[in-house]
């Protein structure tokens, strides 16, 4: 493993870690509740959704709170990463113009920093899993890292795209706001995948999160693994990842002219 001792490799690793740490610590610096905001946010949201759909609309479903949270925590990692990374490049002008370093590290750091919220949420999910079911199984150790890797891949791809496009076309920021809201309702977060009529399921593949969120829920709520869901979401994530890299490299060349 010679290259792991390579100085440049160590430096890159240090840089990525420091940028990530900076994102994490700065996000809630000077706030009273700090990192707990990242938990409070989805929990309060889940409560509101519970009141609206379970109490008012009287959806017939057991464990609806757990059902919501099992999808909301992963969704939050995705949506927060995208919303924040939209402004990452245009918010670091002096770094991009005056220092030489891999610019995509800024985006990776943003996505990694949001992952911490999901990690913090794990105890809550584990608690729910014990309360409503048989508790987390041994297969979590395999599937949770795989799903994190898949979601990381797709999120990075989209974040690379939107961050660099936003530098050229500032309307992106507002478009992203709308798309994230639409995506929230078009993804099986507050409803299960199987309520969607068969005829429309084919379009769901356009949404990179459909099968991923379903896979998260399978493992969290019933310790079950649906490999076809996982493989489909992996395929989709690769497509987004590669297009993200392509667009970022293409547009990144004349970034200095637009920011």
């Amino acid at each position: 493993m010679k290259f792991l001792n390579n100085r440049e490799f160590r430096r890159k690793k240090d840089l990525l870690w420091l940028l990530t740490k900076k994102e994490i610590t700065l996000k809630y610096k000077r706030t009273f509740l700090g990192i707990f905001w990242s938990l409070l946010n989805p929990i309060l949201f889940a409560i509101v959704l519970f009141i609206a759909f379970k109490i008012f609309m009287r959806i017939q479903m057991e464990n609806y709170t757990f059902f919501l949270l099992a999808a909301l925590f992963p969704w939050n990692w995705f949506s927060a990463s995208i919303i924040i990374s939209t402004g990452t490049l245009i918010g670091n002008v002096s770094l991009i113009k005056k220092v030489i370093f891999p610019r995509h590290f800024l985006i990776i750091a943003t996505v990694l920093a949001q992952l911490i919220n999901l990690v913090f949420a794990m105890p809550i999910i584990v608690a729910f899993s014990y309360y409503y079911g048989e508790g987390p199984g041994i297969n979590w150790l395999l599937i949770v890292p795989i799903l994190i890797a898949i979601q990381f891949t797709v999120t990075i791809g989209i974040c690379l795209m939107v961050s660099v496009i936003n530098a050229y076309f500032r309307d992106m920021e507002y478009i992203i706001g709308i798309i994230i809201t639409m995506l929230f309702w078009m993804t099986p977060i507050i409803y299960p995948l199987d309520v969607i009529p068969e005829a429309y399921r084919i379009y769901l593949i356009l949404n990179p999160l459909t099968y991923l969120i379903t896979a998260w829920r399978d493992i969290f709520m019933s310790n079950s693994i649906n490999w076809s869901n996982i493989i489909v979401s992996f395929g989709i994530s690769l497509v987004f990842f590669l297009s993200g890299i392509f667009i970022f490299q293409r547009l990144g060349r004349s970034l200095d002219e637009v920011i």
Binding site: R7, R11, D14, L95, K97, K98, I100, D256
Partner: protein, 245 residues
Amino acid sequence: MSYIIEVEDLWKRFPMRRDRPGFKEFFVNLPKFINRDSNSYFWALKGISIKVEKGECVGIIGKNGAGKSTLLSLILGNVYPTRGRVSVSEKITPLLELGAGFHPDMTGRENILINGVLLGLTKNEVMERMEDIIAFSDISDFINLPVRTYSTGMYLRLAFSVAIHMDPKLLLIDEILSVGDEAFQKKSRDALLNLINGGVTTIFASHQMSAIKEICHRAIWLDGGEIRAEGEPERVVEEYLRYPG
């Protein structure tokens, strides 16, 4: 003789209209846009060729907008050439903007660490130099406070101190010799001279003619994106100062 920097027939243009027109302007001025001359560019550099040897200190002078900063950015690699070629065979330490990447809410120490790694060191290497950097900057009392509480002078001193402790091999400097008060200015100038005399290759863009004459081995006068004169600093500075334009 091998060259550290080779710049060959370098051209760089920027689009003149830096802000894309919005939707409203687009409709108001529709006829104008249809007939718009789509080739309106500003050429910041027009066919520059420079070779820099190891250990050389090259001063770049010229009016505002002559292309000095663009040339430095191209050598750094943040900006891509429109035409031509830049090759650099050494790690670059840029001092183009002091405190680029400093975050106001992080402490002096935290900023030193992240800035040092951004400028090319590993975390351990920065930690080894930490006390030297703090000592040189003279702000030991404030080092654990957020940078937003610093005065401008303190901020710049800290940033300068980080930059010169990076073991630079090739320094790019854009007008930063006047940092802090008299005492610190002397200190920073001495530190830079030390580096240059120690064999660090330096490209130094400045309006301070005395500094150019004192520090540099060679001067290049840029005017309108072209090299107007090149050679002995004394002579080039003379010529530049005599030039009426």
